[in-house]
Symmetry: C2
Subunit: 162 residues, 2 copies
DNA sequence: CTTGAAAACACGACTCG
DNA sequence: CGAGTCGTGTTTTCAAG
């Protein structure tokens, strides 16, 4: 039961375009049964969606950088994420514990583009920045260890998504 | 031309399971024309693949953390990424400029799990760790600004993927 | 969860600018 | 050479058991 859902999720994280036919064969179930389970996983929010994985190099965004930010004036309201959301170069924004307030992940075209985006970040959110340039990426976005334990089912009770 | 490919990529990064019929309608082209373009984008490596986006909370991995590592003994060969690859809790590994050697992105079940993984990282790669816990994630993995400029086409010449 | 059947889709061959 | 049409095999999707 649980094990089948795990197998489905594991397969779809590797290849999100698998047909239900192939998926059924992979997990040893009928096509409709698999279809039902996938729909339930989607509705419960376990599967949030499907996305094409694009090469950032091909998109002319070969430079990745982490930018730690903290407010220039900590007494003012902290709405940095909203203020920065309009910058398409920001891939992710994490609120973090530690010395910094947020950690941003940037994808830019090169050093000049990085400089421009950093200036926009500083002026848009009134923050100071500390940048860490990524030299290479040994691996990224690996498939997680899939474990749908019963305890987790409780947490999802009544939570609807989609 | 270029613009159509950009529209295709933008659409597929948002919904990777779009049918060619829907995709054709979205970009204003015939079905087979879109089909051809998608296949070319896949073969050129612009589209690297498709993946289901899974909720880490639903997978019982609600805690995200960044771990900066540097070797305990910098004179020894640096093969940390390979030594750490067996840990499924490591989502990504970035080689970075700056004080640290690598930046890891972890997805774990909770503080106890984090402690265990940190110990495994230290012993597996003989490194010291500096951990930044993520408190919340305002946004993550946003769709990049898509621009397939001609200059980029040259870089892809002769590069085959898939 | 399975079966089965209808609609939609994928994907090649073919034709037209 | 890229775009559109056609036709067949596959896949999706729903209803019933």
């Amino acid at each position: 039961m649980e094990e089948t859902d795990q197998a489905i999720i594991a397969a779809l994280t590797v290849d999100g375009r698998l047909s239900y036919t192939d998926l059924a064969e992979k997990v040893g179930l009928s096509v409709s049964a698999v279809h039902q389970r996938v729909r339930r996983l989607e509705q419960r929010g376990v599967i949030k969606g499907y996305a094409a994985q694009v090469s950032f190099e091909a998109l002319d965004l070969p430079l990745t950088a982490f930018v730690a930010i903290r407010p220039f004036d900590p007494s003012q309201p902290d709405d940095a994420p909203e203020r920065l959301a309009h910058l398409p170069e920001i891939d992710s924004c994490y609120s973090v514990a530690g010395e910094d307030f947020y950690l941003l992940l940037l994808r830019v075209a090169g050093p000049a583009d990085l400089e421009r985006v950093l200036q926009e970040i500083r002026t848009s959110a009134n923050v100071t920045t500390r940048t860490t340039v990524v030299l290479s990426t040994p691996y990224e976005h690996r498939a997680p260890k899939v474990t749908l334990d019963p305890a987790n089912q409780h947490r999802l009770r009544g939570v609807s998504a989609e």
